[in-house]
């Protein structure tokens, strides 16, 4: 009943006051209840037994098509208007409603089940000083609960104490954000002291003030007051529902948010619904059809008015008017009668069929073995089943680099330590030696803790370290200390690292093999084995990494008491903060860095700084203040970090290799041939990006020029962009040619389309993040877009996640083209959500990208199959379906229109009412579905071989308003034939025994048989790929038609249901006449032959790539 209550609540504007701050006290249910916080029960289901029918029906009738058919049904119940029996609309409508309702109901039953299962899980709750097993749903805000290892976290908890030293707990957040590496949480010392002492915990009355419920997973702000002392609370002290406790025996937590208030639940169910351009077009068309229907009815109404005055008024001998009914009123009623008769122009089954086709085509993606990656056992997945045909229309691809084009498996490859480069091999003459699998590897057997999988080829580095080179040792010490990796050592000596980013993992592993083994960490210490000796450093502060800072630092105290800050980060950032004494070293290092970047390696610069004891103490104090501040906490911390991270001493730089994934260059080449533009948006350095560009075939030697935009002011950016444009196309106008138009429902949406400009030759554009920021501002947007769109390849480097989304939105807004974004990491989520279609690569960097994507798979190279095969086929099938579907319904309906001129515009139908009922539902449903699920113009091999087949989709060639009008003209022709051939053939004719055959019922049977044969033949003509299923559907439907017709025309049916089947005997009496069959034959060929001839001549005169290939495919 809850949903009904809330529904009416909303209806009457009774909105609950929004919570502004949450206050709660531990172990004080009475106090907490006064705030009416919700308990921990969750409810994701929408209906219960009583609300299901009304709510579900209400929801369904909010759809325009359903509402329209309800309206029709109401019309049909008015006897003066009703021109068709109620069942002609009721049966299809009921079927559609039932199908949807059954689906909704089964979904909801599943939700009920999972709700029930989750709500009935038990957990230990501390009540009145005793631990009791309680169901999850009975847990209240302010309760203290005990969790054990591998248990799910019950609600959002404030961590109080744990079994592990220093009150640590380990959690896995896979269910929450998809990441599988362990994360650490730590309780406050104040609460940690409570331990598992039940009495102490029961006596704990700390009070929490914190933010109201929200959906930010990575932030939490609050204060805990214990005995008058306040303690800052942040995300580290909170366990979120959806996490699982790992490697921790037990822990106690205080419930802060329960059930629907938890961050997990706040994050669910708010997905934006993406719609395809065909959906929008369909809505517009349906609206046009309504208009068209109205005008047809108006014409017929006028016809009726004329007939009524001229004929009807004198025909009253045999058909007297009902009292009070005059000609105008009759005409008015006729309008509505014709609305009913001609209702089939608005196809009720259209939306249902479209959904079925999309679902079917999505399954093909899920099932495709060629998009299945055996190494990680991941099949491709269509997470959204409503966007398939748009995959065949992609014009722009925005791709991330790391993990998308590359494997994101990092290997420590080279380094530069104190101005000396390591990692390269040279022969005696000083020539660089190509490193391959046979090259001798460095032997790390002297180091018991080394990772056997680590491979390095340069022996000199090991020697340098073992000689005791201080810089080299400091270099690897930094790598062993400055990171956020979690070690796992299940057996002595068997170390595993849990790293959030693969770069860090690679660097820490390198340090491990070179004798600086990171062994374990606590929040206050880091233990490492340095060249076989155990050293424990005191960890004073961790200065986190983020996208803006692009660096991370740690401050440690060595056992000797020396204070050091170790910092690693992006080279540009580090170089800005170096001590002037390092200038010389800096130059050498920069040279090395450029070489590395030129090889496509990912680089980081390393630096350190010795700290003064007194300064450190004072800084530490301010750090504590800043980190407990409730306001502007981050800004204050940033300032402090900035202050200490300066005058650094450079140690060197690392270069990590990230190998390209298999088949990336080929894929990019294929997509380029399909006229898809690929923009790479990466956070990497310009040189790295450039190099990757070359190695994956996006930048090629044959390109005329590669423009690089890296300016520091808006003016410079503008100038560079303009120069590039003029070079590519000297005659291009200063002002872009923008076509403004209106689109969408009621033409309310304004669209702007920047025209493509013609360019000779191929160019590329590389723009860095700094310039991109200027270029994305309003006044330069179009400039950027014009220049970028003239280039074959665009690479944006050093971009932030927000900029990625902005670039996508820019193209989306001004190009009216379909965009696709592909990425693998959390930083790609905004771009994936912004694009028409988001593709997630399930790789190394967690699951966020996949979770917010529409399609996901494991390797970039599957993209070409997704687009060139699945996308193309889906688009083709959907367009064929729509064209055919409109054709068959219009043809069906127009025949009524022509008949109106011969039946006094009286809204008499041409066909039997049962035929009208079954036409869309039974007789033609399956064949068209068969075509839209199985049709292929050319097979997948050819689709790959000829990527240019993809272009019709981008140009919207197969289904557009124009195509729709063509459909209508075709229908118009067919319906003229379908009416007038039988009309002429049946004029004054009789059966071969002289009896009647020009009667209404025989004529109806003849007309409907002709119609069905014609639409079947048309379908056969449209189907290019005839599987056994198609054959079965076509022949089966025709057989079903005759079987059903003979059945409802049989004596038996008439005797049982006298009034319902008045067509008794018609099939028998007319289908045994040769002239009836000759008429059917003539009609169908007259409808089909011109189409065949037209298509044949079109293929000869203007063959498409498609036609040529089909011809080729015939010759094996």
């Amino acid at each position: 009943m809850g949903s009904v209550a809330s529904f009416f609540g909303q209806l009457f504007g009774k909105e609950e006051k929004r919570e502004e701050e949450r206050r709660l006290r531990a172990n004080d249910r009475h106090f907490n209840l006064s705030f009416h916080y919700v308990n921990n029960a969750i409810k994701t289901s929408k209906y219960n037994i009583f609300t299901f029918l009304p709510l579900n029906l209400f929801e369904q009738f909010r759809r325009l098509a359903n509402a329209y058919f309800l309206f029709l049904m109401v019309l049909q119940l008015i006897p003066q208007v009703s021109s068709l029996s109620w069942f002609t609309t009721a049966v299809p409508l009921l079927l559609v409603l039932t199908m949807t309702a059954v689906k909704d109901a089964s979904d909801d039953i599943n939700r009920h089940k999972s709700d029930k299962q989750v709500n009935n899980r038990t957990v230990n709750v501390l009540i009145d000083g005793v631990l009791k097993k309680e169901k999850w749903m009975d847990v209240q805000v302010g309760d203290i609960i005990k969790l054990e290892n591998n248990q799910f976290v019950t609600a959002d908890l404030l961590l109080l104490s744990s079994s592990e030293p220093l009150n640590l707990v380990y959690v896995e957040t896979a269910e929450l954000d998809g990441e599988t590496n362990l994360k650490v949480k730590q309780a406050l010392t104040v609460t940690g002291e409570l331990g598992d002492n039940i009495d102490a915990l029961a006596g704990f009355h700390g009070e929490v003030h914190c933010e109201p419920p929200n959906n930010r997973l990575d932030k939490f702000k609050g204060v805990l007051t214990v005995n008058g002392q306040t303690n800052a609370l942040d995300n580290d002290k909170v366990l979120l529902r959806g996490c699982t406790l790992r490697n921790t025996e037990w822990c106690f937590g205080l419930v802060i948010f329960g059930g629907p208030d938890t961050k997990l639940m706040q994050n669910s169910g708010k997905t934006v619904f993406k719609r395809t351009s065909i959906d929008h077009l369909m809505n517009v068309l349906v609206l046009c059809i309504f208009g068209f229907l109205a005008s047809m009815c108006s014409i017929l109404t006028i016809g009726n008015a004329i007939w009524e005055t001229r004929e009807g008024s004198v025909f009253t001998v045999f058909l007297p008017r009902e009292p009070g009914v005059n000609a105008p009123l009759t005409s008015f009623l006729t309008f509505w009668s014709y609305v009913i008769v001609l209702n089939t122009v608005v196809p009720i089954s259209l939306y249902v069929s479209v959904e079925i086709i999309r679902l079917g085509n999505s399954f093909y993606i899920d099932w495709d073995r060629k998009m299945y990656y055996p190494k990680s056992d991941t099949p491709a997945q269509a997470r959204t089943t409503t966007l398939n045909e748009e995959l065949g229309q992609i014009k722009y691809i925005f791709s991330d680099k790391t993990g998308t084009l590359t494997q994101n498996i990092m290997t420590f490859n080279k380094c530069s330590i104190n101005g000396k480069a390591y990692g390269e091999l040279f022969d005696f003459s000083g020539q660089r030696v190509e490193i391959n699998e046979k090259t001798e590897k460095v032997d790390f057997s002297w180091n018991q803790l080394a990772d056997p999988k680590f491979i390095f080829h340069d022996h000199s580095l090991v020697e340098t370290i073992r000689e005791g080179n201080l810089e080299a040792q400091a270099f690897f010490r930094l790598l062993a200390l400055c990171h956020t990796v979690m070690p796992e050592e299940k057996k002595e000596g068997e170390l595993y690292y849990q790293a959030q980013s693969p770069d860090e993992g690679a660097l820490v592993t390198a340090a491990r093999n070179f004798g600086f083994v990171f062994r374990s960490r606590t929040p206050e210490t880091i233990t490492a084995w340095e060249m076989g000796k155990q050293v424990t450093y005191e960890l004073l502060a961790v200065l986190d990494f983020n996208n803006v800072r692009k660096r991370m630092s740690v401050i440690v105290r060595s056992p000797e008491g020396k204070l050091t800050l170790f910092c690693k980060g992006a080279d540009t950032i580090i170089f800005e903060r170096l001590h002037p004494s390092c200038n010389k070293l800096k130059e050498v290092t920069i040279r090395h860095l450029n070489e590395y970047a030129g090889d496509g390696l990912r680089t980081l610069a390393l630096a350190y700084k010795d700290l003064d004891q007194s300064f450190m103490e004072e800084w530490k104090q301010r750090h504590h203040e800043a980190s407990t501040a409730m306001e502007d906490r981050e800004e204050k911390l940033d300032e402090l970090y900035e202050e200490i991270e300066k005058d650094l001493m450079l140690l060197g730089a690392t270069a990590v290799e990230d190998k390209l994934q298999d088949g990336v260059p080929q894929t990019i080449e294929q997509l380029a041939k399909a006229d898809i533009k690929i923009w790479v948006l990466t956070g990497d350095k310009q040189e790295t990006a450039e190099n990757i560009g070359y190695s994956c075939n996006m930048l090629r030697e044959e390109m005329k020029e590669i423009f690089i935009v890296s300016a520091n002011t808006a003016e410079e950016v503008k100038e560079e962009l303009q120069n590039a444009r003029r070079k590519m196309c000297p005659e291009s106008a200063d002002e872009p040619s923008v076509i403004k138009s209106r689109a969408g429902l009621f033409w309310l949406k304004k669209t702007e389309n920047v025209q493509d400009e013609k360019v000779d030759g191929k160019y590329a554009l590389i723009i860095n993040g700094h310039s991109l920021a200027f270029a994305l501002e309003n006044n330069l947007q179009l400039e950027l877009l014009r220049t970028a769109c003239m280039c074959q390849t665009v690479i944006c480097c050093r971009v932030t996640p927000l900029q990625k989304a902005q670039v996508v939105q820019l193209v989306k807004k001004y190009k009216q083209a379909i965009t696709l974004a592909i990425g693998d990491g959390a930083n790609d989520v905004s771009m994936i959500k912004a694009a028409h279609i988001g593709v997630g690569i399930s790789g190394q960097e967690g699951m966020q990208a996949v979770l917010s994507s529409d399609y996901s798979f494991a390797q970039f190279r599957y993209l070409q199959r997704l687009l060139l095969v699945h996308g193309r086929w889906s688009y083709l099938r959907m367009c064929k379906f729509l064209r055919y579907f409109f054709y068959k319904n219009f043809t069906f309906t127009f025949v009524h229109f022509w008949y109106a001129f011969f039946c006094g515009f009286s809204a008499q139908t041409v066909y039997d009412e049962w035929f009208i009922t079954f036409y869309n539902l039974v007789y033609t449903a399956l064949p068209v579905l068969g075509m839209s699920l199985f049709d292929q113009d050319v097979n997948d091999r050819w689709s790959f071989q000829y990527p240019q087949l993809y272009t019709p989709g981008q140009l919207n060639l197969y289904f557009s308003k124009k195509a729709f009008v063509r459909c209508m003209m075709h229908s118009c022709y067919s319906s003229l034939i379908l009416f007038f051939i039988p009309w002429a053939a049946m004029q004054d004719t009789v059966r071969d025994d002289g009896k009647d055959i020009a009667d209404y019922q025989s004529f109806a049977l003849l007309a409907q048989t002709c119609l069905l044969v014609v639409v079947m033949l048309q379908l056969c003509l449209d189907t290019h790929y005839w599987t056994a299923v198609n054959q079965f559907f076509v022949w089966g439907s025709l057989a079903a038609y005759f079987a059903i017709t003979f059945t409802i025309n049989s004596n038996g049916m008439f005797l049982i249901f006298t009034f319902i089947f008045p067509f008794i005997g018609t099939a028998r009496n007319s289908l045994n006449q040769p002239n009836v069959w000759l008429t059917i034959f003539l009609t169908s060929l007259l409808c089909i032959l011109p189409v065949v001839a037209f298509r044949f001549i079109l293929i000869q005169l203007r063959p498409t790539a498609n036609d040529k290939l089909k011809e080729l495919q015939q010759v094996p």
């Binding site: 045999f318 099932w367 055996p374 292929q936 002429a984 004054d988 002239n1075 032959l1089 001839a1093 015939q1114």
Partner: protein
């Protein structure tokens, strides 16, 4: 084997269906099929067309309009619509033998039996002899549902408007009138006569009609339609059945009688004939026309030249089209090596 399956649990099935590799036939609109196809279809059409046309030509039809619009028409005197019973005689000649069996139709023009309001004005339940509906005709029959509070049987506009002119045909042999026997049996559909329309199982039939009235336009009640053959009464009266099978188009003809007996079994010999008409049915008020039609039939039914001509024309067009396509193909055929 088991181990491998375990490792690749998510691997999709390798079936022709899931991998979209179902074996299929891929027909093409290639010149080798389309052009010969058009030629052969054209030839078949021409063949059918010739057959149809010749057959249609062999069918003899004689139409006589007796509405009496023109003053010269013998029935002009009856066309004043006074409602009185009126007789008129139409004379006509037949030059050569009118081959039998000859079918005798009456035809009506500008008569909208397919008007929706008209065509739904019927009660099928009543016409299957269900006595409940005798006392309580369906609302659809309005305004011919009740007459002065008495139910009309058979009710509805279709039944009420039943054609009620009657005809007698005489051959004038040496100034003597020789009646041509007209056969009124078996002129309706078998299913109509045997299943769709039933009389109530009450004997005598008239008792079933107690408490009901005849349709207002009818001269006599349903059980008195045929005064000679008592079994041909009620709802299974052949003329009634023919009328109740409503026409699809506003110009239609309905079978009245067959000429199959006696001297006329092999047809109407050449000579002078006289058709005596009892003129009851008013059509002039809505500018309708009445006619009688004599016709014989062939395997393709009655005379209809359209079908034959259409087949001929379309067959020729197909052949013509195939020539056009051949020219286009020869001239524009795209080079295969593209």
């Amino acid at each position: 084997m088991v181990k491998e399956v375990k490792e690749l649990v998510n691997r999709p099935d390798n079936t022709a269906y899931t991998q979209q590799r179902l074996p299929a036939w891929q027909p093409m609109l290639s010149a080798g099929i389309v052009i010969p196809g058009f030629v052969s279809i054209g030839l078949v059409f021409i063949g059918i067309g010739v057959a149809l046309f010749v057959t249609s030509q062999s069918i003899q039809v004689l139409e006589i309009d007796y509405t009496g619009v023109e003053q010269s028409s013998p029935c002009f005197k009856c066309s004043d619509q006074t409602g009185k019973k009126c007789d008129c005689v139409m004379n006509f000649d037949i030059d050569s033998l009118f081959k039998g069996p000859v079918f005798f139709y009456y035809g009506l023009s500008n008569y909208f039996q397919n008007q929706r309001k008209y065509s739904v004005s019927i009660d099928y339940n009543q016409l299957t002899g269900d006595l409940d509906y005798f006392t309580n005709p369906d609302d659809a029959c309005f305004p011919f549902q009740n007459d002065r509070n008495k139910p009309i049987v058979p009710c509805g506009a279709i039944a009420n408007s039943m054609f009620n002119d009657t005809f007698q045909l005489f051959q004038l042999v040496n100034g003597q009138k020789k009646e041509v026997p007209l056969d009124g049996k078996g002129i309706a559909w078998w299913t109509d006569y045997n299943t769709k329309y039933r009389n109530p199982s009450v004997t005598p039939l008239r008792n079933a009609f107690n408490g009901t009235v005849k349709p207002p336009s009818w001269p006599q009640a349903a059980y008195e339609l045929d005064t000679e053959d008592t079994s041909n009464n009620g709802f299974i009266n052949q003329d009634f059945l023919v009328w109740m099978r409503t026409a699809a188009l506003p110009d239609f003809r309905k079978l009245y009688r067959r000429i199959t007996e006696g001297d006329y079994a092999s047809g109407l010999p050449a000579g002078n004939y006289s058709l005596e008409i009892v003129y009851n049915y008013p059509v002039l008020s809505f500018d309708g026309r009445k006619k009688v039609v004599f016709s014989n039939v062939s395997w393709m039914g009655g005379k209809n030249e359209f079908l034959g001509i259409a087949y001929l024309v379309i067959g020729s067009l197909c052949v013509l089209m195939s020539i056009v396509m051949l020219i286009v193909y020869a001239k524009f055929k795209f080079p295969e090596e593209d």
